[in-house]
């Protein structure tokens, strides 16, 4: 899934967020995703994969737990399982700069 950011430039999905349907944990993860996009200094794309709709994707990625935020562009893949609401911590873990920190 490709997305156009505000500048019209095409950016590659960098992170994937695996979640299951609309469970409370999934909804919290979607809110967390929004906050991450807002807080990141660089444009950051987080593709949402609902594993209930796309179970094959979960198999390929080897997802056991949800929510899982995953960076599959690095080797080995980098993953955070569970709560992604601590924006600063999550950005740091995946190597993104925070607007607030760099200001």
């Amino acid at each position: 899934m490709n997305m156009n950011d505000v500048t019209g430039k095409v950016v590659r999905p960098m992170l994937r967020l695996y979640l299951a349907g609309d469970a409370p944990g999934a909804r919290r993860a979607l809110e967390g995703r929004k906050r991450l996009i807002d807080a990141a200094l660089e444009p950051i794309d987080i593709e949402v994969i609902d594993i209930l709709e796309r179970p094959a994707e979960a198999e390929i990625a080897g997802i056991l737990a949800t929510p899982t935020l995953s960076d599959e562009t690095v080797t080995p893949p980098r993953r955070l399982i569970g709560d992604i609401s601590n924006t600063a911590q999550v950005l740091e873990y995946f190597g993104y700069r925070n607007k607030d920190a760099s200001a």
Binding site: G25, P55, E59, I63, R79, L80, D83, Q89
Partner: protein
């Protein structure tokens, strides 16, 4: 979410065969369909083999596809490791009869923060179940799943319960393995069995007197009967796990009244007409008293009467057995050439006792003998812990009888005069007849004596008869005049008929 609302005994629980025949007997025909079974065991106890066999039997023999969720080895490793058991996992995978969910450890940087669920796992399992139309499901092993989320055992527990309930709703028959720390401690680490399992099975690979002894035990079967206690198992090439059935399950062998010759006319007279067709006779005596000679006569007598005879020897080489026979005027070579006789010589130490039992069973099923001699049980006893030996004897004697074979086993006494060996004590109650061969001292002479101590269902000569051995074999003579003590000075009470 409630796990099992059905705690009442359901007499019509459909059974799912595991492919381990004697195990299915223990659980009244197989694992109950739609239930969850935990198979616990220490590392190396055969959990993955059991689990794979459960799937393999379903796929290969019953058209029941399966899903294998592996938390430990990768699918390719399982493929490779299980190939030796003759399971064509690769082909089944290609045909979607077996679908893997690969949850084996991967090279990943991963952290866990806060709460999570195992929807990923459940979704993948259900996806695989739909793809294969699976009826059987294996999770191997849950312990690895707990280790993956080592900081959150409570969450894993809660989530596993949810997964198990969802799988049950799918009607799947589920087998989960769990690791144990010790052979006789708690059932599994994390006490998994307490919350997910309807049934609990334990595999053991215990060290007993420096020997490995594999067993399987059914610990719990919800709403169903099962046979209690440990049953020996063994891993067989091209086959998988084989449980060694205990005869206590089926004791209803018919007793034949048909007599066959012992191979010695005088002994036949002493036993009022020879040995029974489907009976087991023990010949007990010290070294050199003539046990192997009796065996040789027994085999030759059978062949002369048109029967097929099998000798399994554990003490002497084939060459030595053939030379012995020739010394007593019996030509084993000619009998083998005719296809009437088969002589097999085995090292007791070469394999475990359950393996020996399987070897004998295979030989019998292949050669289909009318009579079978085993020389000697004492050699086998050396390699086994006591409990294992008794189980072996029970299984062996019941197998011999089931096949309506005349069996002759020998046991060697450690002391030259009198005394009982342990195998004698064990087997005396299990055999139908006992023949004692003893050295008996008369003045300054050492003579040999033979006595039929016990013969089930028949009259027999109860005298102790003198005998001699020469180039033509054994010659029974007159009874001893006095009353020599065949059990020796210690006067141990003999087994009763």
């Amino acid at each position: 979410m409630t796990m099992a609302e059905d705690s009442v005994v359901d007499p019509v629980l459909e059974r799912v065969k595991t492919g381990i025949e004697a195990f299915d007997d223990l659980v009244m025909g197989g694992l109950p369909r739609g239930r969850t079974t935990i198979v616990g065991g220490t590392p190396g106890s055969g959990k993955t083999v059991f689990a794979t066999q459960f799937l393999a039997h379903g796929i290969a023999d019953l058209h029941e596809p399966g899903v294998f969720v592996t938390f430990e080895e990768s699918p390719d490793e399982i493929d490779l490791n299980m190939a030796g058991f003759g399971w064509d996992i690769r082909r089944w995978r290609e045909r979607n009869q077996l679908v893997f969910v690969d949850a084996s450890p991967q090279d990943r940087d991963e952290i866990v923060v806060g709460d999570f669920d195992l929807a990923g796992l459940l979704t993948r399992i259900l996806h695989a179940v739909r793809a294969s139309k699976a009826k059987r499901l294996v999770l191997d092993s849950l312990t690895q799943l707990f280790d993956h989320f080592i900081a959150d055992p409570t969450t894993v527990r809660r989530e596993l319960l949810r997964v198990a309930a969802a799988l049950k709703q799918e009607g799947l028959t589920v087998l989960m393995t769990a690791e144990r720390n010790s052979e006789y401690g708690e059932i599994s680490r994390h006490r998994i069995e307490e919350f997910v399992a309807d049934n609990v099975v334990i595999l053991r690979n215990a060290l007993d007197k420096e020997r490995r002894r594999r067993t399987i035990e059914v610990l719990k079967m919800r709403g169903s009967r099962h046979v209690e206690g440990e049953v020996p198992i063994t891993l067989v090439e091209n086959h998988g796990l084989v449980a060694v059935p205990l005869s206590s399950l089926r004791l209803e062998q018919q007793s034949s009244t048909k007599r066959v010759t012992s191979g010695n006319a005088e002994l036949d007279r002493m036993t009022s007409g020879g040995l029974f067709r489907d009976s087991v006779t023990l010949v007990s005596g010290a070294t050199g008293t003539g046990k192997t000679l009796l065996v040789t006569n027994f085999l030759a007598g059978g062949v002369a009467a048109g029967e097929r005879a099998l000798l399994v020897g554990y003490e002497e080489s084939r060459g030595q057995l053939f030379r012995n026979a020739r010394g007593w005027g019996v030509d084993f070579e000619a009998m083998e050439a005719e296809g009437k006789l088969k002589v097999i010589s085995l090292y007791p130490e070469a394999q475990s006792l359950p393996d020996h039992l399987l070897t004998i069973r295979e030989l019998v099923e292949e050669f289909k003998p009318d009579r079978l001699a085993i020389d000697s049980l004492s050699a086998l006893e050396r390699i086994a812990p006591e409990t294992g030996f008794r189980e072996f004897l029970i299984s062996l004697t019941s197998f011999i009888k089931q096949h309506e074979i005349a069996g002759l086993c020998t046991a060697t006494n450690k002391s030259l005069i009198g005394g009982q060996s342990a195998s004698e004590q064990h087997i005396s109650t299990l055999t139908d007849s006992i023949i004692l061969l003893r050295y008996i001292q008369e003045g300054d002479m050492m003579n040999r004596g033979l006595m039929v101590l016990k013969m089930r269902g028949s009259e027999h000569d109860k005298q102790i008869r003198r005998f001699t051995i020469d180039g033509e074999g054994m010659h029974l003579g007159e009874p001893f005049g006095g009353a020599p003590d065949v059990f020796g000075d210690t006067a141990i009470a003999g087994p009763t008929a």
